[in-house]
Amino acid sequence: MDRTSDLAVDSVTGVDVALPVAGPGARSFAFLIDWTIRTILSVAWYVVAAMVHNASWSLAAPLTPDAGWFVFVVAPPATIYFLYHPVWEVATRGLTPGKRTAGVQIVSRDGGAPSVGALLTRNVFRLVDSFPVAYALGLLTALFTRNNVRIGDLAAGTLLIYTRNDATLARFPGRQLDASSAEVLSELLRRWPALDSMARRRIAATILADAPAETDAELRLQLENLTKETQ
């Protein structure tokens, strides 16, 4: 993990909370997913409502559109498209389906959940971020600001962080290893390709010597094979 992109937040415990700040790539990925979802929903609503309103397969607007056309066919897709972000973000305190999929979340600068006012403000400033086309200004700002934030985030005092829900302790299913041995093995496997064969044999011999008697047979065999490995 790139520790340089963490935002350190003060805590009452005296130990900073390290929030991994999401970069422009993760932001763009989340936005694209959300954009796809709201576009599909809006278009789907328009297609179905237009066919129902016209009582035919035609999707075209009537020559003289009545109130029903506007209220049931045009307004709901526009509402879905433009209010998708504020409604999701306020309802879930900083998450949308796209952000959830991309593994990012909006937080305030103190690491807590953002206020409703902050969430609405960052959405109002989408008007600025979307200039001149395709969120170019927002993307540029995210590329060049310290915490990769767009103008809306600067205004609202928010930022996007990785949720890191996938962080787990080292585990070797089926092996009877305690946490410390599992962590050592995990670290060893990570560095394994970089080690020379002498070092591999020495480490395998050490693990084998320290391994408890109840270590399962398959693992013991693999370790023994490693100690016999020739260059």
Binding site: T13, A18, G112, G117, L120, L127, A155, G157, A170
Partner: protein, 333 residues
Amino acid sequence: MSESTRENALRLTLLRRSGLWEKAAARIRRLSGKRTDDAADATAIADDYRMLAHDVAKVRRLLPDSRAREYLEATYAQAHASLHRPAWHPGYAVLHLFRDDIPAVMRWLGPHVFWATVLFILTVVAGYWMVHTYPDLIALFASPELIATVERGQLWTEGLLNVVPSSVLSLQILTNNIVVSLFAYCAGFLFGLGTVYVLGLNGLMLGAVFAFTGLHGLDDDLFRFVVAHGCVEISVMCLSGAAGAAVGEALIRPGTATRAESFQRAALQSGKLILACVLLLVGSGLIEGYISPNPTFSLRARIAIGLGYWLFMIALLNGWLFRFRRLKSAATA
């Protein structure tokens, strides 16, 4: 004992606490995003937070590139977020917003509202004078269709309801007005210059169109059309401009804070007023769609509606509509 032996012993001792971390993580997952009044849960999560902080500090030094650190950092951050998530009471938040926050923002924005209004009035006068003196300049502010209609002795608003239903008209108008209002606010990001541009342009257009219709004897009809919705619509335009100007000023003169902090504070404060402005524009759009183009409403009725809605706006923005709740609370206490 050698240094490396001591360090290894510390690492092993730390890693043997992994069972406690997993229990804490499970509890945090269970409680995050839920409302609970259980004091035991609250105490347990506070204890977990302290324990995780202690172990994060150790793991950062002893195992800086390990999965244990990654796991502990993530769990610690989740515990921090869970403990610092404020209670969410939507009803109280709305009441607090309209009763306390927006009146406070209005007091703070007083000078900005004054100068935005002065700017708007000056540009209206300038637009009126320009077109009244040089009628050809109307081409700068109005479309050829609008000019041709007025030159035929008609207002473009006549027979509007025969072409577009009121509901459609209302939605189109309120959407347009909300976008203009938000734009006037967001344009403050350009050090206030964008706000000056939006306010100035709208003022010039209003003055120019009034002057042009006046030259063709239609200014009374235009006033009759505008008065019901215009009082609030124009006021909201000035308020949005004032909010945008405050954001711009925060960028130009950040004071003792950094420019980013000053911008953030101004945007968050003035954003509350923008929310009220959007709601007021919805009402204004409905009036413009249903009442303004409807010839059955007399001028007196239109003035009463316009003035009444404007007074409602003043009461809303100053928190007078919700003052009884505060008095009631004080009496109960």
